[in-house]
Every structure is written in C-alpha cells, then in structure tokens.
Amino acid sequence: MDMLGALAGGFATALTPQNLLYAFIGVLLGTGVGVLPGIGPALTISLLLPVTFGLDPVPAFIMFGGIYYGAMYGGSTTSILVNTPGESSSVVTAIDGYQMAKRGRAGAALATAAIGSFVAGTIATVGLMIGAVALVGLAVRIGPPEYFAIMILALLSVTGLSGSSVPKALFATAFGLALGLVGMDNQTGQLRMTFGISELEDGIDVVLGAIGLFAVGEVFWVASTWRAQQDEERQTLRGPARMTRDEFGRSIAPWMRGSVIGFIIGVLPGAGAAISSFMSYAVERRVSKHPLEFGKGAIEGVAGPEASNNAAAGGNLVPLLGLGIPGSGTTAVMIAAFQIYGLQPGPLLFDQRPDLVWGLIASLYIANVALLILNLPLVGLWVKLLDIPKPLLYAGILVVSAVGVYSIDRRPSDLAVVFALGVLGFLMRRYDYPIAPLLLGLVLGPLIDLNFRRGMIMTDGSVLTLLARPGTAAILAAGLILVLVPQLVRLYGRVSGRRELASLGEIDD
C-alpha cells in the first residue's frame, strides 16, 4: 500500500471547505462535551453520535475524528481547574495540575496540556498510520483462531488492568459478553437469550450500553450522594493560557516521553489512556531533577500525562482500524459509529473504502491542528462551561441521552434497556465493580462468538488444536503477561509510597 499517496488522497477528501468545517465542528463539540465534569470520552462520543446521523459516511467520520480527539483533550481543563475530575484518564493530571492552578499557574497548566496534546496527537497519528497499515498487512495472514485469541487478550488485559477485585472484573467481562450475544445469531438465525421479548431480537447496541451505564448510572450516582456532597473546590483562570520560557523548556521532554509511552500502551488492546497517563507520571517523577515538586505542582506532572493520554487515544485506533478490534470502552463506542453506516472497521475497509479510512486519518491530523488553534483562545469559554449548575447539567445530559437512544432505531423499548443498564451501572459503581470490561464485552461478544465458531470449524472441533496454533498460543501468552503487569505496577506504587498511584481506580475510558 502506498501510504503517502493514500494519505494525500485522504487530505484531498478532508480538506474540502465543507469537510474542514465538519472537522472543526467535531473538535468544538468533542471538547465542549468532554470538558463537562463527569463525562468521559466514551460517553461524549455516545452522546454526540446522533449529531452525525444526517451526514454521509465520509463527512460523518471526519467529524468523528474531531470529536474523538476533542473528547480526549476536553478532560484536562476540568482536571486542572476542579479538584475532582470526572474521568479516570485525567486523575493523574489533576494531581499536579490542580496544585499549579492553586498557585495561580492554571494558565500554564492549561497551555502545557494543550500543546502537549497537539504534540502527542501528531506523533500518535503518524504512529497510527504506520501501525494500522502494518496490521492490515499482517491481518491477511491470520485467521479466526488468531482473531479469537487477540480478543481474549483484549479482555484479559482490560480485566487485569481494571484495578478492581478479580471476581468483580470477571463478572463484568462475562456478563458483558453474554449481553453482547443477546438477539439473533447471525450464523444460524436462532434467537439467543431474548426470553420471548421481540424487542431484544436485534441485540443490545453498544451505544445503549455506554449511555445507560455512564449517563443514567452517573445521574443515579449523583442523586445517591447528594447529601454527602460538598461544594467542590475550584480554581479560576486568571490571565491568558501561557507558559513562561522556563515552563516551556521543562515541558518539551515530558511531552515526547509521554507521547511514546502513551502510543505504545494505547496500541495494546485493553490498556487505555488512564494506565498510560499514570505510567508517564511515574516516569517523569523518576527522571526529574526536582522530584520533590511532584504532587505540589510540577509542570512535568501535567505535560507528560496529558501528552500520553492523547497519544494513547491515537494508539487505541491502531487495533480498531487495522484489525477491527476495539481495545477500550471508547473505541468500543467508535465501532458503533461504523456499524451505524453498515461498515466494519478492519483490513477489508482499507480495501473497500480507502476514501473513508484515509479521510478519517487525515481528519485526525486536522483535528489536532484545530485543537491547538481553538483551545488556547477558547479556554475561557471552556472554563465557563464549568459554571453550569450541576442539576441543570445532569438534566440536560439525560435529555440528550434520551434523544440519542431514540434516534438510533426510533424504538421506545431501547429506553427501557437504557434504564435497566443505568440501574446496573449505578449498582456497579456503588459497589466498586469495573464498568469498562462490561462495555468492551458487549462489543466483543459477537466477534468472539463468530471467530471462535469459525476457528473451531477449521480445527474440526478441537479446542486444544485451536489454542495450540503458534499464533494463538503466542497471543494468549502475551495476554497472561499483560494481566501480571498491573500487579507489578501496583506493587511499584506501594514500594515508592505513593498512595495516589497505588490506589489508581478503575478505568472508565
């Protein structure tokens, strides 16, 4: 595949005035919704999905590129100015970002986050392009058994990295997979687990999962802790978002290191932005000449994690575009965006719709530039979004959720499914069950089922032959290693005595 030629074609698609406008609108919407406290990237994308319904696939995906990177970036503003960030990928940024804001350096923290996101996004998009094309080349040589193994690896690692108790993570994963299989079986036409309810025959859309678990569940959570809630501490932004020469100099190396760490971790299925920003923070603290500043407002502690958070977003798209396998909750929702247009991301899409795939990749570059152009001047506007009274904010989120759910299939019963998932999401959050594996299982369930059954046909029904193929065995071994890594990371956190790191909570991206 002539990568540069294809990319040029992608830019030709994306750079028409109309598509450029969609990219900018996408960035604005993604950032705006991403800034709102309590709304992570997966929910941002779910809520904004209906906005693209009226569009043709190409402009829709160009807009999605903008929404995706905007949503990833948006959380940083909240985590710097508010001491309780909504999304876990921003938890690490909040440690030093909020301290900087308290010292009156909010502008510098926001600037290093914005420029770092640009640097990381650009590096990651180059990596994404190379990585996805390489995977497409590899993908033609691997069969259903290997696909099956890669998905098991994704589930193993998202479960292992969830930071929750193992039985709880196992429940979330297995139940998510089971929910994913509800409805008509594509291979035999049999109805599975519908219990005679005809509305379940089409299955449970991942968007319903994201909106139910995150939006409705979040509102129930907020209501349940209403009495316990105190006024949140907030810092204000004084002056423009700008760094001093010294702060800029101190940011460059962390941006670079964060980008590399973020991209590599992002490519691994199951490891999301939260893990990568946490690793970047640990690295920065270790290599820093003034480690004692960490926790008290070190700019490196904002620059590195924010860069790695955004680079991971690019890395996450590698298995999605190259193999059609989502590795995180956020990319699980992205797959829903493809499915709405009857498309399946993966090697075939590169062949059949190069305009779309390369248009999306080009729009990611454009989104990065747009983020840089828009975010520093508009930071005052984003900060104003934090002034929306919380009750109105949550009421608005649920109204948009209802519109989003209804607009998928115009089916009132989908609202009932979302309500049930909201109750489940609330209970899981209250009793500390990880939610990301459930969402990922919902998407991977049908794919695992398909590839397992196809693989078993190839091996004449022998599970052992399936697992002993060199490719599958190697991938599954890698999965086991990935499950062990977080245990070591947690140990490392405990040894170095950092409570924030050791107790890094669940990953909900």
Binding site: S165, A223, G422, R430
Partner: protein, 148 residues
C-alpha cells in the same frame, strides 16, 4: 458467618444473573451448523458469571464489612422515578412536553431552587435541541401531544 458484607449479597445477585444467562442459553435450540452451536458460548459466559458470583461471595465472607458511604435513598429514589417516568412518557407525550417536564423536575430533585431560571433553561434547552435534531439533522423526534 453472616452476609454483612455488601459483596456477599452482590455475589448472590451475580449468581442469579448468571442463572438467567444460563437459562437463556440452554433454551436456545442447538441446531447443528458447523461444529459449535449457538448455545455454546452463551453457556460458557453464563457459567463464568455464576462462578464469579460464588467467588465474590466466598471472598467477602472472610472480609470485614467496609465502612459504607452514606446513601441518600430519598434523592436516589426520586431520581430513579423521574427517569423512569421520562422514558415512559417520551413517545406518548412527545419529546418537547416530556423533556421540558423532566428537565425541570430533575433539576428540582437535584437541589436547584432557582425556579424561574430553571423554567427558562428547560424550555430553551429543549427547544434548541428540537430545532437542532428535527430541523437541522433530520432526526425524527416523537411529536406526542403537540400538533407538530
């Protein structure tokens, strides 16, 4: 040995969910197509859910119950009822009427008492969404009781 730990009850609830999954899986007609029928993986997942629930309960029996955070049952109940009513009324009453009522109601439940502001905000927000989706994005929202 008591079920003082919330995870003990949670584990039993998980077992119940797993049994539901298994019931759904085992009642799937297992037509012969290929080597693995449609009921196999659902059964595997159902068994995993049951096992995870048993595991959770077993672990929790040996653990001390955690200090549970205060649960504001009144506000939670009100919010759950509000969302249930909203979703039930979304089509019959239509998007605009149900959403304005819900927006205002949930804001009140969540503690906002700026009645005039909230009324203006709910009408304004819902109408703006209506124009955006119905007119600009051609997403057909339910009209309900309003002659739209």
């Amino acid at each position: 040995m008591t079920l003082r730990h919330p995870d003990a009850i949670g584990g039993l609830a998980v077992v119940a969910l797993g049994v539901v999954v298994l019931a759904g899986a085992l009642t799937t007609p297992d037509v012969q197509f290929g080597v693995v029928g449609p009921a196999v993986l659902p059964s595997v997942f159902g068994i995993l859910v049951v096992l995870s629930g048993l595991w959770l309960t077993a672990v929790s029996l040996q653990a001390d119950p955690p200090v549970s955070e205060a649960l504001d049952a009144r506000h939670l109940t009100l919010a759950v009822i509000a969302v249930a009513l909203y979703f039930a009324a979304f089509v019959p009453l239509g998007f605009i009427v149900s959403s304005v009522a819900f927006f205002f109601g949930l804001s009140w439940i969540l503690g906002s008492r700026a009645v005039l502001r909230d009324a203006v905000a709910s009408v304004g927000f819902v109408l703006a969404l209506y124009v955006l989706f119905e007119r600009l994005l051609t997403v057909d929202l339910p009209g309900g009781v309003l002659p739209l």
